[in-house]
């Protein structure tokens, strides 16, 4: 009994202290709410991501502060989509909070009403005190998680396609980071030295996974996935892009590229076996961690090069957090979402190598000091010219990615010499059929 009293007293003191420190006036309604939510356990289904890695060890702080217990489990991205779809279809899922990919799942999940609409939460000052600073989120990021005027997730991470390169190898060869795709190819050719175990370039080659990292190559050639509700992956520009991607990976890429998603490509780059890697900027931490990377001190990053149609890397919100519409503990879930995307936590995530969605963080002194050289510049410059999607944005995106990805695989297998135009035409027919079926 005495012990309980004591714990209660400490808790109350902590709440008061927190209220005083943050200077928030809402301490009166907040205290009973904290008690009400204390003791609840929420289930958080996450993706295997550097953001998750960064916040995992911080969760006990949240639990201590609110009394809410968090049960976290994490999956690789495609498995996560599958897991979520399977569970949410049942209509009786026990998931409270989950990480979601707006471009991949946004439409499908919205259509099935699996997201709890969050607009009422962020606008309600009782649920969301002003000091959480919803307005500080990047506008483009918020747009990315809003569909038909409804906010369905809080964006946490942004990423863009970037070029990782080996500073030492470039210096040895007297090369500068390529600014154009022609230079990229030339550098890949020059640095490709399989006899000594170094390949010129790697990028994703696995069927569905390849599509997103191919997208910046596509835009640089003047191509696109969809236009006016139709798939346009068979235009001459798009075909050229597919041929180019296939050629560089076939001629100067490591063996086995057609089975590679980012973990495999990252492993190769980290083990010093490739000179360049084009992929999402968020994968940088894995290259800089001396425990995982042999070349941690030799990694440079540069903007994604331009092509005949200019420089158009994608910049997207790959991950956001949502509350399940089926959750029975939405209040506790919202507390967790708020905490997960609070400035304090986000800053820690950013310091651990993530690229996050709050403006304040990008101006934070600690963050700027710790950013990888060139990162802030690349982020700023890319943001100004970026394309806001990296895949065909549609409901049946998984199948569409497979159809387009297969053309990319064939191109890599043949070094771009297969009948890409014909294959692309077939893919267009498939994608258009999918669009028609889902009424898009």
């Amino acid at each position: 009994m005495g012990k309980m009293m004591k714990r209660g007293a400490v808790f109350a003191a902590a709440v008061t202290a927190a209220a005083v420190l943050t200077g928030c006036g809402g301490s009166a309604p907040k205290a009973p709410e904290g008690q009400k939510l204390s003791g609840q356990t929420i289930r958080f289904v996450a993706s295997n991501h550097t953001y998750t890695d960064a916040i995992k060890s911080l969760i006990p702080e949240f639990e201590k502060k609110t009394g809410i217990k968090v049960k976290m489990e994490s999956y690789f991205e495609d498995q996560l989509t599958q897991k979520l779809t399977v569970e949410l279809t049942s209509g009786s899922s026990t998931i409270d909070v989950f990480m979601t990919r707006p471009l991949q799942e946004g439409r499908l999940f919205s259509k099935n009403k699996w997201y709890e609409p969050l607009s009422p939460y962020v606008t309600d000052t009782k649920k969301t005190p002003a000091d959480w600073k919803w307005n500080d989120f990047q506008k483009s990021a918020v747009e990315a998680t809003t569909l038909n005027g409804n906010l369905y997730a809080v964006p946490i991470v942004t990423e863009w396609e970037t070029l990782f390169y080996r500073k030492d190898l470039f210096a040895q060869a007297g090369l500068q980071p390529p600014k154009t795709l022609a230079e990229l190819e030339a550098a890949a050719k020059q640095l490709n030295d399989p006899a000594n175990g170094v390949y010129g370039i790697v990028s994703r080659g696995q069927r569905g996974a390849a599509v997103t990292q191919f997208s910046s190559y596509l835009y640089a050639h003047g191509g696109d996935f969809l236009k006016g509700g139709e798939c346009v992956i068979d235009t001459p520009e798009a075909v050229k892009a597919i041929q180019y991607y296939g050629k560089i990976l076939h001629d100067y890429g490591p063996p086995g590229v057609t089975n590679m998603s980012w973990p495999q490509a990252q492993a190769l780059m980290a083990s010093g076996k490739v000179a360049m890697w084009t992929d999402a900027s968020t994968l940088l931490p894995g290259l800089l961690d001396p425990q995982k990377s042999k070349v941690a001190d030799k990694i440079g990053i540069a903007m994604f090069p331009g092509g005949s149609a200019g420089q158009h890397p994608y910049m997207v919100v790959p991950w956001a957090v949502s509350i399940s519409a089926q959750s029975k503990q939405k209040e506790a879930a919202w507390e967790f979402v708020k905490w997960l995307s609070s400035e304090e936590v986000m800053k820690k995530a950013q310091l651990a190598g993530n690229t996050t969605t709050r403006n304040a963080i990008w101006n934070d002194k600690d963050v700027l000091a710790k950013l990888h050289p060139g990162m802030a510049d690349v982020a700023k410059q890319t943001g100004a010219i970026a394309v806001p999607y990296d895949r065909p944005v549609m409901t049946a995106v998984v199948e569409a990615r497979d159809a387009i990805g297969d053309v990319i695989v064939k191109s890599i297998e043949t070094g771009g010499t297969a009948d890409i135009a014909g294959l692309a035409k077939a893919a267009v027919a498939q994608v258009n059929e999918l669009l028609a079926k889902s009424g898009e």
Binding site: R43, S74, Y75, V86, T89, G91, P263, Q266, S271
Partner: protein, 271 residues
């Protein structure tokens, strides 16, 4: 005589040549599970190295394989026991009364590709709110175990003399108590064969758990698959996890070797 000895050596060499390819990959998994990442990616491969327990620590502490070990055990034991309870009586009457239709029906279940059930099960179990429960997983694994048990036991009961049961009936035993008191005790070797195999099928099952299990009931095959697709880089932990999964299966197989061989080759030789 001398020549025969030479032939013997030659022949033993041949046996070695046969056995090594089958044991080598497994031995390699065990070796790799004690290596650091750097040691694993080294070419040519290292044969001598300072072993590390780090991988096992990561498997049990970070990945909490203890829990999955428990889940897998519950589901494998549960599905085997239940399959025995409903399978043994069925096998007995199928054998005794030549219930051919039923026999063929159960054989059909043995032939059927498991993936054919996935969609309806998924829909059924979600409607019942039973996804991610032991019940759903045990029931699904039983569909592999039960036909197998019946299949083996029908063959086994066929070989038992009916006279024993008839004699017991003359002594006033009912058929069912004769089954319990006479037939089953005589069938222990067959039951061991059938249940070992049923346990192994469940232990190794991946497809059903992939769709029907989640956080609460995640089994070992799913657990290793889940952490692999992410931690692709950490081969050492993957190999340690593989050892954790494979070892119980191997120990069980070694303990019941005779029965496992009988089970796997069942029905093949009789023709």
């Amino acid at each position: 005589m001398k020549q025969k000895k030479h032939m013997d050596y030659l022949w033993y060499g041949l046996v070695l040549l046969v056995a090594i390819p089958f044991i080598f990959p497994l031995a390699w998994i065990v070796l790799a599970s004690f290596k650091t990442q750097a040691q694993i990616v080294t070419t040519p491969p290292l044969w001598v190295f300072t072993p590390t327990l780090e991988n096992y620590q990561s498997v049990f502490v970070d990945q909490q394989f203890g829990k999955f070990l428990w889940n897998s055990s519950v589901i494998a034991v549960g599905s085997t026991l239940l399959s025995l309870i409903i399978g043994l009586p069925a096998a007995y009457t199928i054998s005794r009364y030549k219930q051919k239709v039923l026999g063929v029906f159960i054989l059909l279940a043995r032939l059927m590709p498991g993936i054919a059930y996935l969609i309806p099960w998924f829909i059924l179990f979600t409607k019942l709110g039973m996804v991610d429960t032991y019940t759903a997983l045990i029931a699904s694994h039983m569909l592999v175990g039960l036909p197998f048990i019946v299949w083996i036991m029908v063959n086994y009961f066929d070989g038992l003399p009916h006279e024993l049961v008839e004699a017991a009936q003359v002594d006033g035993c009912t058929l069912q108590s004769a089954f319990l008191k006479i037939v089953l005790p005589l069938s222990v070797p067959g039951i061991l064969t059938a249940s070992t195999l049923s346990f192994l099928f469940s232990w190794n099952n991946f497809m059903f758990s992939l769709v029907l299990s989640s956080d609460r009931t995640k089994t070992l095959p799913i657990a290793i698959y889940n952490f692999v697709s992410y931690a692709e880089v950490s081969w050492g932990s993957v190999m340690a996890a593989a050892v954790v999964i494979i070892l119980p299966a191997i120990v069980l197989t070694m303990a019941f070797q005779r029965y496992v061989i009988k089970g796997l080759t069942a029905g093949a030789v009789k023709g």
